[in-house]
């Protein structure tokens, strides 16, 4: 028997999509029957009270979590999001309901053995509710009490070789696409780079030392499966410099209808017979492709590497062999001065272990932003305030036309004094010799 009636939430048990309410109710029951015999360290009815509190929010259309919450573990300045409900007498099970962020393995692969161990720990010391995963990538453990935080951390690090993720004005938990694990488009080892840089910058992740949050994301190609360009201050996106590899026989097989276009992604609807001209050549953004005499040609010099032709014909077209990555910087959500996608900083950079070239750019940007960034100013906003030129300067990068979508339209151009013959120190009396008042 449920502790609180939840007539509104009950209506979210219908419909085909997995119901979080059904899952929570089942989990709430199992905390009472406790089939695995855990000596539960947070209230047995924590999920009942979570449902009760949520039902109250559904009734009155507002949240019932108090503002903020500052909790954590010694040695770190982040990793735990403190939370207290604003109706602790009614719902004592969620009076404390802190979130613990756990660092996830790159690519989000797990073994059942490991995952079950984590579940055991969380059933024992937490609510048993999770997010798999947080938007930034962490495993999210939703709901425990303050006295359990150090206990959880001790067991995580001592028994599971598992650290916390990031929160606060620091390097947040980096994330990547699945890269070379299971994708033929991966231009570099996203998982290894993600893992390596996460370890390299552990101090920046656990101890806030930045003006504001800073995120890394690693995409293996411009398809953006981890959305690096939109969701990380420092976005590393794989690419190549040489020719797209063409298997002409496979191209013919696509034309002949033997292989479905786009790996069969559109199979649920009749789009007609595959038309190479219409579906690939004419959609190429730079119009650098042609198909004549049964032969597909790509003018590499004019290719943007947008991935469209490769996406449509993955068995015929493959990424080049001279691989690396582009670095783009500054993406952020709207607050404060508007949303940004990352802007191209380094068109092509080697992306091989131990990733020294990439680290050099990261550290140059950090050295600058940590000094110049204002309180709670994302890198993208610092760029807007101080100019993109400044980022190029601190990274020692020569401006190239690839850095812009278009040149400026206004003529309000700054020059450095030493670029101008004679400098800026001038004598009005000298000027007056030629120009009377």
């Amino acid at each position: 028997m449920a502790k609180h009636p939840t007539p509104l939430l009950d209506q979210l048990e219908s419909g085909p999509w997995p119901s979080f309410v059904s899952d929570m109710k089942h989990a709430a029951e199992l905390r009472h029957t406790n089939p695995r015999g855990f000596e539960q360290q947070v209230p047995v009815d924590v999920i009942d009270d979570l449902l009760g509190l949520l039902e109250m929010s559904y009734e009155d259309g507002t949240t019932h979590w108090k503002h903020g919450g500052i909790v954590g573990v010694f040695g770190y300045g982040g990793g735990v999001i403190g939370r207290y409900c604003d109706q602790p007498e009614k719902f004592p099970g969620v009076a404390h309901f802190h979130t613990v962020r756990l660092a996830q393995p790159s690519g989000l692969f797990y073994t059942a053995e490991y995952m079950e161990k984590l579940c055991d720990l969380w059933d024992f010391r937490g609510s048993g509710m999770t997010n798999m995963h947080g938007s930034t990538g962490d495993i999210i453990w939703l709901g425990t009490t303050t006295p359990q935080l150090e206990e959880i951390f001790y067991e995580l690090t001592h028994t599971y070789n598992q650290d916390l993720g990031g929160s606060g004005s620091n390097l947040r938990t980096p994330a990547c696409c699945m890269g070379m694990s299971r994708c033929e488009f991966a231009c570099y080892d996203t998982q290894l780079m993600c893992h390596t840089l996460t370890n390299e910058y552990q101090d920046m992740l656990h101890r806030p030392q930045f003006p504001y949050k800073f995120k890394f994301k690693f995409d293996g190609c411009p398809n953006g499966c981890v959305a690096a360009i939109a969701r990380s201050d420092f976005s590393i996106i794989g690419t190549w410099k040489d020719d797209i590899k063409i298997d002409q026989a496979a191209v013919k097989a696509y034309v002949g209808g033997e292989i479905p276009p786009n790996a069969g992604a559109h199979a649920g609807r009749d789009w007609g017979k595959f038309d190479l001209q219409k579906e690939v050549i004419d959609l190429c953004p730079t119009k650098c492709m042609k198909y004549e005499g049964g032969k597909l040609e790509i003018d590499t010099k004019n290719c943007y590497r947008c991935m469209h032709c490769i996406n449509v014909m993955p068995k015929a077209l493959r990424i080049g062999d001279e691989r690396g990555a582009s670095i783009l910087i500054g993406a952020k959500a709207p607050i404060l001065d508007g949303a940004q996608m990352s802007s191209l900083l380094v068109p092509f950079i080697p992306a091989d272990d131990p990733f020294d070239e990439i680290k050099e750019v990261i550290e140059s940007i950090w050295d600058w932003w940590m000094d110049e960034g204002k309180n709670r100013e994302r890198l993208g906003e610092t760029l807007k305030r101080l100019g993109f030129q400044k980022a190029l300067e601190v990274c020692g990068i020569t401006p190239v036309a690839q850095h812009v979508k278009e040149p400026r339209t206004n003529p309000y151009i700054f020059w450095k004094e030493d670029e101008v013959p004679g400098g800026w120190t001038r004598d009005i009396n000298e000027y007056r010799k030629l120009h009377q008042r």
Binding site: L12, G15, W17, P18, F20, V21, S22, D23, H26, A27, E39, P43, I47, S57, Y58, E59, T62, W65, A103, G107, L108, Y110, A112, E113, M115, E116, C119, T130, N131, M132, S135, L142, P147, E150, E151, H158, T173, M180, S181, R182, C183, E184, H195, T198, Q202, P222, N223, G224, A227, A230, A263, A267, G268, R269, L283, P314, A333, P334, G338, M341
Partner: protein, 381 residues
């Protein structure tokens, strides 16, 4: 509920402390076929909704079955995933960047049996536990946020709105009949944690009333300059408030300049603004992150306000479905929702989707707003 120590000694907190060890190494968790063929994949194919095959240089094949999840899941649910992984996939599993679950096997027969098994598992009340799909030109899982389950600044709920939208669009998760993938995202406030600013269809929690000032406590709870600086429109200034027996330092809100973003509340607990009638959602459309054909795009506001209607948000679900239906009927193959709207023109988008165009949709935020107006005679009647 007796306290059980882990071995941590609160009297000597820094003793035996392990720190800065980071995440577990991903290769420890890779299925053997993936580890063997790491970086050596040559092609892939979607055999049917939710079922992929990847082929390596070695000729090895791996079949992947993808299933939807609620993201907010219990350990019981994760244990069931583990049980499935052990039964069909040698105990390996992974999650996707859209919070779907994937199981991998080297046998097509096993993959098909797995798919059938997953589609057969339901919660007691009837919803699927692991609906298979989310591949190709479909509507995959909704990237979403905390909402009323855990956050203090939301203007709507996330888990609930996601559930009702996915129920409405469920057929599109298990099919591949869209012109291109349709990414849907939900964020419960303008902080837009996640992907709302860059999704084909996005739902964002929105307030419509300025904050209530808790003058009595404000100066004790807040660093006033931080709250002042948090306002994008300069609607806040420091001031005094007369409580009767004393004057206190506080913050004065210029209500004409406030657009209810809630960022001052993020900084200052004495400026709450949530409200049953005031709060609701906006709908944004046309964003994308991939570089395929066109550049990445921001999503644009298409619907200025839909009220919160818990538990099933019927208006929201209906409007989302309508936009998707019109897009699916009208867009060309490979055309993302934003590509389609730009090709036909936004005036046609509003007409076809039968959406009201109101003054709220015209940008008025600083200099860049000008660039969103129409400096041209090119338009459709």
């Amino acid at each position: 509920m007796a306290f059980v120590s882990s071995g941590y000694n609160p009297a000597k907190p820094m003793e035996n402390r392990i720190s800065d060890i980071g995440p577990r190494f991903f290769k420890d968790f890779l299925p053997p076929v993936l580890e063997k063929n790491y970086g050596k994949w040559v092609s892939h194919e979607i055999l049917e909704p939710g079922l992929l095959v990847h082929e390596a240089e070695s000729g090895d094949k791996v079949y992947t079955v993808r299933a939807g999840t609620a993201r907010l899941v219990s350990t019981e649910y994760i244990r069931e995933i583990c049980e499935i992984a052990k039964k069909y996939a040698d105990g390996y599993m992974r999650w996707t960047t859209r919070n779907n679950i994937e199981f991998m096997t080297t046998s097509l027969e096993t993959a098909k049996a797995l798919k059938a098994d997953l589609n057969g598992r339901k919660f007691a009340a009837g919803s699927y536990k692991f609906p298979v799909g989310g591949t190709g030109a479909s509507i995959s899982n909704i990237v979403h946020t905390q909402g009323w389950i855990h956050c203090h600044t939301p203007a709507t709920d996330a888990s609930g709105t996601v559930k009702v939208i996915m129920d409405e669009l469920f057929e599109e998760f298990t099919n591949m009949r869209m012109p291109a993938i349709v990414r849907v995202a939900v964020a419960c406030c303008l902080n837009m944690c996640g992907a709302c600013h860059c999704s084909d269809l996005a739902v964002v929690g929105f307030h419509r009333k300025p904050p209530i000032v808790d003058h009595e406590y404000l100066d004790n709870m807040c660093e006033i300059p931080l709250a002042i600086a948090s306002c994008p429109t300069g609607a806040l200034k420091p001031g005094k408030h007369d409580l009767g027996d004393k004057k206190v330092n506080t913050i004065l809100v210029n209500q004409e300049r406030c657009m209810y973003c809630g960022n001052c509340y993020t900084m200052c607990p004495s400026l709450p603004l949530s409200d049953k009638e005031g709060d609701g959602v906006i709908i944004m459309v046309g964003g994308k992150v991939s570089n395929r054909i066109s550049m990445p795009k921001f999503s644009k506001v298409a619907v200025a306000f839909i009220p919160n209607e818990p538990p099933r948000w019927p208006t929201l679900a209906k409007v989302c479905k309508k936009i998707i239906e019109v897009y699916a009927a009208e867009a060309n193959k490979y055309e993302r929702l934003g590509d389609w709207a730009e090709r036909i023109g936004w005036e046609s988008f509003f007409e076809k989707c039968e959406l009201d165009f109101t003054h709220h949709l015209i940008d008025d935020f600083r200099d860049p707003a000008y660039f969103t107006w129409r400096q041209s005679t090119n338009f459709k009647f």
